[in-house]
Symmetry: C2
Subunit: 267 residues, 2 copies
């Protein structure tokens, strides 16, 4: 398979840097082709702004989605964005690796999403009718590919548990898993999360590295998070609400968007 790993940590000599090297080495050992987008090393521009749309007239009002759609259609995106889109089309598997900062991704990685997810490519795709609400949530230009997160946090695992003060990790990651990865079509694998990074000694690192290697060896076979497809009949159109009767009564919030046959958390 072809694997694209997005790396979003400012220090190569970090736990994240070491885990990236572990993942890439194991993937290559398995015979996969690997590309790494090291956002800090690339000097990635995080904020989407007028400079993203060279075709926009000087006095024209910037409407980001409209400008993105126009630039995507005529192939007028900036070169850095176009290169990342080409990598996404090339890759069978996308891995986003980042430290969890303020319960989400670092700004530089969010800026990769904001800029690379062009209108007409990652959203604004497909027809709207009484049977479909565009190609999204399980359909779209990235359907048939797989994605997963590698995330590190200084916090303790129980703090991110079902009753932990931070909120459950699966729910905290839902806006990324479901909203950023499932949306343009990816099958999303359960995340690889490393907790209490400040206390990881050499033995702990070795155990973590081996777990990560195992996840790299099972990329093709790990069952994805069983999100419901938007256009599979489970949602009313145009309200896009889950049909009455679907979703176990005990389920609320994000967990409603898991298929009924799959019990458990929203991870």
């Amino acid at each position: 398979m072809k694997v694209l790993l997005l790396f979003a940590h400012p220090e190569a000599r970090s736990l994240n840097g070491a885990l990236r090297d572990v993942a890439v080495a194991e993937l290559r050992r398995q015979g996969h082709e690997v590309q790494v987008s090291d956002l800090y090393a690339q000097g990635w521009k995080a904020a989407i702004d007028r400079a993203d749309f060279p075709g926009l007239a000087a006095n024209e009002r910037l409407v980001p989605a409209a400008a993105s759609k126009a630039a995507f259609e005529v192939g007028d995106l900036t070169q850095d964005v176009q290169e990342e889109i080409d990598k996404l089309r090339w890759a069978d598997v996308l891995i986003l690796q980042f430290p969890l900062w303020w319960f989400s991704m670092p700004a530089i990685l969010k800026g990769w999403v904001d800029r690379v997810y062009a209108c007409g490519f990652a959203y604004g795709v497909g027809e709207h009718s009484d049977k479909r609400w565009g190609d999204r949530y399980g359909e779209g230009n990235l359907a048939g590919k797989r994605a997963m997160l590698i995330v590190t946090t200084g916090g303790w695992e129980p703090h991110y548990g079902a009753r932990g003060v931070n909120g459950p990790i699966g729910d905290l990651l839902f806006p990324i898993h479901h909203g950023i990865l499932f949306y343009p079509g990816y099958d999303v694998l359960p995340p690889f999360v490393v907790y209490q990074t400040g206390r990881l000694d050499e033995a702990g690192f070795e155990a973590t590295a081996e777990q990560l290697r195992e996840r790299m060896r099972t990329l093709a076979t790990t069952p994805p998070i069983p999100y419901r497809r938007q256009n599979g009949g489970d949602y009313l159109i145009p309200s896009m609400e889950l049909r009455p009767g679907l979703g176990a009564p005990s389920r609320t919030g994000f967990a409603l968007h898991l298929r009924d046959e799959d019990a458990g958390s929203s991870r």
Copy 2:
């Protein structure tokens, strides 16, 4: 009161720009002092990196939390970050205004959080003991102040409802409300959310503007989202899990972190 409004849209001639002007005018009409941090206009640097820590030796490994703590303690933060911290100390109310991009804030605003929330200021505060796990989640340097979001989205309101395909808006915003605002001490007011921005006509804008003015008039009196204080006795230490018996059986996920006397959603 003193109000700081953080504005994170690249175009002044946008719906967001118009709503910002409405909010600021109403706040001034009420006699409040207002400062606006217009992140795009300020050319805000989004990605935290070595340049944030001039005191770091050239060959020293960058550990962001440690570098931030060291710089904060000796007053060696960069001037742009220090100015924002001064504004946060000055303000009684913080408003974050942004378009919802990929179910979260734009990268430039996430980069404001990543950089301005210094260690020792917004986190890493207070003592750890068998009675306290630091000053966070309702305590900390920003306790006693209020915060709220003004958010716009092209999506329809039912798509963000209790059973909507995007997930409930209150849950999608939980990582910001609870993880970014409640964490360093803010009382968090319910968000002001504008849906279907692409279809807002003149009458719709006027109605929205009037609702926003009303929210600006009631900043001091609107009840905050009733999150549980971490050190108020509801959580076990050190696992930081909600004590057995707390949280109605029907509640799961983020909603567990609302006080039991307050029924309803996690908004």
